[in-house]
Assembly symmetry: C2
Amino acid sequence: MKGPDTMQQDHIHSAFDADLSSLRSQVMTMGGLVENSIRQVSKALNRRDSERADRVVAGDVEIDKLEELISRKAIELIALRQPNARDLRTAIAVMKIAVSLERVADYSKNIAKRSTVLTHSPPLDIGIGSIKRLSKAVRIQIKHVLDAFIKGDVERADFVIYRDEEIDQMYNALFREFLTHMMEDPRSISSCMHFLFIAKNLERMGDHATAIAEQVIYMITGTLPTDDRDKNVMTDFDEYLT
Amino acid sequence: MKGPDTMQQDHIHSAFDADLSSLRSQVMTMGGLVENSIRQVSKALNRRDSERADRVVAGDVEIDKLEELISRKAIELIALRQPNARDLRTAIAVMKIAVSLERVADYSKNIAKRSTVLTHSPPLDIGIGSIKRLSKAVRIQIKHVLDAFIKGDVERADFVIYRDEEIDQMYNALFREFLTHMMEDPRSISSCMHFLFIAKNLERMGDHATAIAEQVIYMITGTLPTDDRDKNVMTDFDEYLT
């Protein structure tokens, strides 16, 4: 039979576990909203649908609130329940993942605003397809990394980090495409600039997927993966400088 | 005379205070490195000095390490010492400020990389002065907000938030300057694009100064300032779209 001390411990543990599990599901809810925000903003851009874009902007408030809630709950958990090493790591990871997701949503909101501005200019005949593909690739990265988080799947998290290189390549190709177009047709410069900032926002979202993957690995293994790629490497359009 | 319990309490408090005070001075050290990074990268850009730019890139490692150290220590403090509400707020604020400072340093590193690429292209005859002024304004914002942090000065933090509007205006003016130049001289497009990304990085640094100011206010008053400006508002070059 368990003594009263052990029972007390069990009680504390199960309350802690319940809190942690509720935090984890809040992260998944937040992740779902962020994925949807990326999907919607891509549609808004393709269809020149500024009402949809407005909904993306408005929806960001809820995501911000969830981030605040998750951070507060995680801190409370750490402050009040003195978690063991692994639970502490999970609480910290949850907090950092929420911060990254909030930033991804911010980029989405920025794209939504640019897409509304773009509805006032003639459509470009280039780049839309590439932007759509990049957006989809980024959304899939977010989806995979959330799966890795909830399943505690290090391999999948590793895969997300590995795949970020592809996102960067897509971004660089897009960059070249728009830059060439700007040079050939200077009247398109301002529209192309919007698309370039949109592409950059998507590429940065991809970096956050990587940051989340690193937190997932830290949560499970207790160490951050070694950084053998420099994510800030500045590859875009070096070759265009004369 | 104090009983043993009170003495025990005092002991815990003074150990806590010592830890918190060491955290605060680590934030100031980090802030000093970040300020210097902004100063150096601006010089590197003006003088087309790629060795200086390389040092900025290399120096970012130390800033990253400080951020990790501060986050770890703050979490330990929260986990082990069960701080009261105000100390908890300070520990959280310290952590968030370190994250913002780290991002500012990342932007600095990005600018350093672009400045090196720019040394391979003919110098532009526009914009350098405006970039220099924007960079200085941002550095002063960081300086003020660190002062506000260490002195617990809400008014100064408020002032930093207020001044961010000026940074945004400088950025918008710069944006128009470069965009006009690109349209007039398409051969300058790729150099101008680098400068535009540099300007955008500086403007984002300014947003982080605001985020730090908000954390300072939260630390002191327990509430975040109401957000009556939308910092993500997308003002750049709307007027250029036809």
